[in-house]
């Protein structure tokens, strides 16, 4: 047992205690599933960022950047952050207005169809479990690498932590602990990056050293020996997966479900701007920190462990402990969100229970059941964090993205169209993913599972809608989305929201300054 393990165990104990403390405030099913719909902007931002940032980001994305994919990953990140802004304006606030408890419930009410509610619930479940598996593997790899303790024991400890936390405090606890964890890993990341750069002789010197070793690492194209052989192909990949992740950030269940807990629609819109700032900063700093590790060790055996290695070998011990605890927090925070969504879907979408106490009880059983399933699956899966995570995201983007937007903005999409679109998108994408995994085939970008799945979704939605008619109930449900509650029309709130939205332009300037001063200019000087 070393100091890193002690730090992690202490943090896990604190999260469990917090869960028990917060559970005292959970009085109703509304509290348990949607945090009483009273969450302010800070909690929604904290939960959005914490649910998004998992071990996949600190290990998978960091590993990709270390391996030479810095610029393509950065492009993907820019699309993601834009996804938050578009997502809240064109989908999230309407979702909040529906007052549904789950997103499948929203789809079910909007299309007046139990079938689409169940289908969206099933697709979300598959994605959430796949995603949770990648997080479990990340946590297991992190803890066992750092401590030498058995991998399965590590994932068991983490699983107990986030299961207890979610079971006791529900969404209310998830929002609060997510925000605390967001604070921990953001501060830890900022401190860690500057510690790594400082040890390499300062920011400019670190970039110079790394560029002298391999000029391609920080180039616009990425390292051409890593993935695709040309810069153009790498950028096309980045644009494609940028769109995938943009759509995930717009409508993905673990992201848009946060809006259901917001105090009002203004909170939903404001949270997108500040989440975009947070995600950009974290993605950029983590990626560049991973690249800078080349200054100390250019040939790590396992790229996804680059930040773990840096925590233990480059940073001061205390900072290393904080960063590793932060990475663990990122994993746990995402897992709690996923587990609470699973519990919520079982109690609200499958069982449709009315009694408050029974609804909470069933949700808790479902969370425990899902935790057992994930534990069993995690026990047998190999640790291939990055690609497993991408499978989850791509599948949900293909099955939900077009239907979600159409549910608000199309008068012509029918329940049959929405059902066919969602189903075909899911099958199209998942079958292509399975085919490429099993056969090992390398497909051209236009046959990427995302492209096939998205095309299948649109085709299903168009054909299904052309063959059927929109019912009066569907029409009414859509019209209800555009009836603005009086409480949203407060002049002061509207003024504040408009001011917050100007933050997007501030973000553009911030990105310009950060990228020029911390990447482009030092890199261009280094290659001269």
């Amino acid at each position: 047992m070393n100091i890193y393990f002690i730090g992690m165990v202490i943090s896990m104990i604190i999260y469990v205690i917090l869960g028990f403390v917060i559970s005292k405030g959970v009085k109703s099913a509304n509290d348990f599933y949607v945090a009483g719909r009273q969450a302010p902007t800070i909690l929604i931002v904290g939960s959005l960022v914490a649910s998004y940032c998992s071990t996949g980001m600190f290990m998978g994305d960091a590993g990709e950047a270390y391996s030479g994919f810095f610029a393509p990953m950065l492009m993907v990140a820019i699309f993601q952050i834009v996804g938050y802004v578009y997502g809240t304006v064109f989908f999230g606030r309407y979702l909040r207005r529906s007052e549904a408890v789950t997103i499948p419930e929203f789809f079910g009410k909007r299309f007046d169809s139990r079938a689409i509610r169940i289908l969206s619930m099933a697709t979300a479940m598959v994605t959430l479990i796949v995603y949770m598996l990648s997080i479990m593997q990340g946590i297991g790899t992190l803890m066992s690498t750092v401590t030498g303790v058995d991998y399965n024991l590590c994932i068991f400890l983490a699983l107990i932590t986030f299961t207890l936390l979610t079971i006791t405090s529900g969404s209310k606890g998830v929002l609060i602990t997510d925000t605390i964890m967001f604070g921990i890993f953001t501060l830890a990341t900022v401190a860690a990056v500057f510690a790594i750069a400082g040890k390499a002789g300062g920011w400019t010197q670190a970039i110079q050293t790394v560029t002298q070793q391999n000029p391609a690492l920080l180039s616009w194209s990425g390292d051409l020996s890593y993935f695709y052989p040309t810069g153009g192909q790498n950028m096309l990949w980045a644009l494609l997966y940028g769109v995938v992740w943009m759509s995930v950030c717009m409508v993905g269940p673990w992201q848009s479900s946060r809006y259901l807990m917001a105090k009002n629609e203004h909170v939903v819109i404001r949270s997108s701007v500040w989440s975009a700032f947070g995600i950009f900063l974290l993605q950029f700093l983590i990626a560049i920190a991973a690249v800078m590790v080349h200054a100390f060790s250019p040939e790590l055996e396992s790229a996804s462990e680059v930040l773990i290695w840096a925590s233990m070998n480059v940073m001061p011990t205390l900072l290393g402990v904080v960063l590793l605890t932060g990475v663990l927090a990122a994993g746990i925070s995402s897992a709690t969100t996923f587990l609470s969504l699973i519990g919520s879907s079982v109690a609200n979408d499958i069982c449709e229970i009315e009694d408050d106490k029974k609804k909470i009880r069933v949700g808790r059983y479902a969370i425990a059941g899902a935790a057992v399933i994930v534990m069993v699956l995690a026990y047998y899966q190999p640790p291939a964090i990055f690609w497993i995570m991408y499978l989850g995201a791509t599948v949900i983007a293909c099955s939900w993205f077009p239907v979600s937007l159409a549910s608000v903005w199309s008068k012509r999409v029918t329940k049959t169209g929405a059902f066919c679109g969602m189903l075909m998108g899911f099958i199209g994408c998942a079958s292509m993913k399975v085919y490429t995994s099993v056969s090992g085939a390398s497909l051209p970008l236009y046959l990427d599972p995302f492209v096939v799945g998205l095309a299948a979704n649109l085709l299903g939605m168009i054909i299904g809608s052309a063959l059927t008619k929109v019912t009066p109930a569907e029409n009414q449900a859509r019209e209800a989305l555009f009836r603005v509650p009086g409480s949203e029309c407060d002049l002061g709130e509207m003024r504040r929201t408009k001011r917050n939205m100007l933050g997007v332009f501030l973000l553009a300037v911030f990105i310009l300054v950060v990228l020029l001063t911390m990447w482009t200019i030092p890199y261009l000087r280094a290659i001269q």
Binding site: M75, V82, S219, W220, G231, C489, L507, I511, W519, T520
Partner: protein, 42 residues
């Protein structure tokens, strides 16, 4: 090429700002108008 890349991402974010800010301003103006008309009708 890197400069073009940076310009692209900045413009991409700014475009999102233009589209979404414009939408919000338009919607809020509509909310206000509806509210005023509702008050007058009462």
């Amino acid at each position: 090429m890197q400069i073009i890349q940076v310009a692209f991402v900045v413009l991409w974010v700014a475009l999102a700002g233009v589209v979404c800010y414009g939408k919000i301003v338009r919607d809020f103006a509509q909310y206000q108008q509806n509210n005023t008309e509702g008050g007058e009708n009462q």
